[in-house]
């Protein structure tokens, strides 16, 4: 019998993978992808809660729709920035973006 916790655990695993990618990928675009994974895990949570336990079920799905919209915009801006830095420095490695420090 598949219940709420199952979905939540899948979400948690996805979140963890996203986090790991966020911390360990060198390529900026891969980092952006990892963030998308994390946002997806949040959406799984929200939809699962709204299916199983929420008193205001529609709110959860509305929330995840908002998140999807924001995530799409985030990718657009992120890629534009990646392109800009690639033009300027010929790299998209996150760990080479350390001119600003101390």
């Amino acid at each position: 019998m598949i219940g709420l916790s199952h979905y939540l655990l899948v979400g948690a695993a996805l979140f963890g993978l996203g986090l790991f990618g966020l911390l360990t990928k060198r390529n900026l675009i891969a980092v952006l992808m990892s963030i998308e994974l994390m946002l997806n895990s949040v959406n799984i949570n929200l939809v699962a809660f709204s299916r199983f336990s929420a008193t205001d079920a529609a709110a959860g799905q509305v929330f995840s729709l908002f998140i999807i919209a924001v995530a799409a915009a985030e990718v657009a801006v992120g890629l534009a920035l990646a392109y800009a830095i690639y033009r300027g420095r010929d790299t998209v490695s996150v760990d080479e973006m350390n001119w600003l420090k101390w």
Partner: protein, 472 residues
């Protein structure tokens, strides 16, 4: 549906769209200064209109959007900040290689996001408000593409802010799971003590800590502040922080107190860390933007002490302090804009001898910095007095003592700048040209800092009225 509640937000958004359209109608090569003046005039008009809106209480959209004095106070703070930033960025924008009108548009969008945050009474509105503000900042931070530092700052901000909001969202989803609803009122009733509440609450707090730059969630601030164009840094330092506090105070006043967990303990730790890290790390900085970044971290620490008491006295201190911080901040950054335009740099060496080249600016900078340090009779002193005494009244004597000690430490690095301005020799002897808007902004900010320090009565009254509406 009551769109009157959204009046200010919609007006600012429409102003932004108006500028966008006007830009299309103008010749490509033409200066966009008129649009800047349009933005300033529009915002000033709105500020005046908003003055008459005190006392209009109400919840709209099924209680998801609040109109009260508290939100209004914050909206005015944002408006004032935005007006002043627009004013001293006119020349910076004129010198941008491209997309000058869009600068104002995005700045106004950021203000809309902040305003929504101040009124948000549910997690969705909160989230969207945060993101609208943050998105505008992503682009504004990376605006000067010919400087890859600016782009790097934008990327760092984007990655870290997105990660922080992902964490915060996950926390929100857990809160939603416990309470089954999203509005603060429902959350306040529905949140029962459980591990999910601990994890969810901490994740939400982490998101806020990122926005207000409380250590160790502050790491983005110095890098992004340094890389961003100066007016953007100014707005980021005060707007983003103030908006973060606006939402955070509401949540911590309305939602979390009933849950029985010791949330103030975490706020206490964040506050102590912020004061320590901010003030100590600021000492060795030579780049003034970085120094101001660390100083803003320290300010977040002072502000957090106001949240410890969980009563309206502390919140009043927060409101008061944020308003005066706007003025001190605008003063410092306006001067920095002028210096940066002259010297093409923002280090402590670039500002040396300013008192002889531009005495007015040197005085403004001194007053602003000393206000941040909390030297009487400037406004910052009164603000710190409110914050610390509320913490002491709530039994947190030691955080106030720490605050005092570190304020003394902060004097050291602020005075280093003052010393450089007054006692250093100028790096070159070219005449120093100050654009009129910058001068006006700087002097106005200084006058406000002085006035509110010498006679803080009216503002503190206003802050008190506003703070009371959060605690019904």
């Amino acid at each position: 549906m009551n769109f009157d509640a959204l009046m200010l937000e919609m007006a600012v958004a429409l102003l932004a769209l108006l500028i966008l359209v006007a830009d299309l109608l103008m010749e490509p090569g033409q200066s966009r200064r008129k649009l800047g003046y349009l933005a300033i005039a529009g915002l000033t008009g709105l500020l005046l209109v908003s003055l008459g809106r005190y006392g209009m209480q109400g919840a709209f959209f099924n209680g998801l959007f609040l109109q009260d004095d508290y939100a209004l106070f914050f909206k005015q703070t944002f408006l004032i900040g935005a007006i002043l930033v627009c004013l001293f960025s006119l020349d910076t924008v004129d010198n941008l290689p491209h997309s000058r009108a869009e600068f104002y548009v995005l700045l106004l969008f950021a203000v809309v996001g902040m305003m929504i945050l101040a009124s948000a009474n549910d997690l969705i509105t909160l989230y969207v408000g945060i993101e609208l503000m943050t998105f505008s900042f992503f682009i504004l931070v990376g605006y000067v593409l010919c400087e890859t530092k600016s782009t790097e700052a934008a990327i760092k901000y984007l990655v870290l802010a997105s990660a922080a909001s992902a964490v915060m969202l996950y926390g929100m989803s857990l809160l939603f799971g416990i309470a089954g609803q999203l509005s603060y009122n429902a959350l306040a009733k529905g949140l029962t003590a459980s591990p999910a509440l601990i994890v969810g609450g901490v994740m939400v707090l982490s998101g806020f800590a990122f926005k207000i730059a409380a250590p160790p969630f502050h790491m983005w601030a110095p890098d992004v502040y340094e890389g961003a164009p100066i007016p953007v840094t100014a707005l980021l330092a005060m707007g983003s922080k103030a908006a973060g506090f606006a939402a955070m105070v509401r949540i911590f006043a309305e939602v979390f107190p009933g849950t029985g967990y010791p949330w103030p303990l975490l706020l206490l730790l964040l506050s102590g860390a912020a004061m320590l890290v901010g003030n100590l790390a600021a000492i060795p900085q030579t780049n003034l933007k970085r120094m101001l970044a660390y100083s803003s971290v320290a300010q977040a620490g002072y502000l957090l002490t106001g949240m410890l008491s969980g009563g309206f006295a502390g919140v009043k201190g927060v409101l008061f302090y944020l308003m005066i911080y706007v003025f001190a901040n605008v003063g410092a950054f306006a001067v920095l804009t002028a210096v940066s335009r002259h010297r093409n740099g923002e280090t402590i060496g670039d500002i040396a001898g300013l008192s002889r080249k531009a005495p007015v600016l040197a005085v403004v900078m001194t007053v602003s910095l000393l206000s941040m340090a909390g030297i009487p009779p400037l406004a910052g002193f009164v603000g710190k007095f409110f914050l610390f005494s509320s913490a002491i009244d709530a039994g947190y004597l030691w955080i106030a003592v720490l605050g005092f000690v570190l304020s003394m430490v902060s004097v050291y690095y602020y005075l280093n700048v003052v010393k450089s301005m007054y006692l250093g020799a100028p790096a070159d002897d070219r005449p120093f040209e100050i654009a009129m808007p910058v001068r006006v902004t700087a002097v106005f900010a200084m006058a406000a800092t002085l006035a509110m320090g010498v006679y803080p009565g009216p503002l503190s009254q206003l802050a008190e009225t506003a703070a009371k509406t959060v605690f019904k």
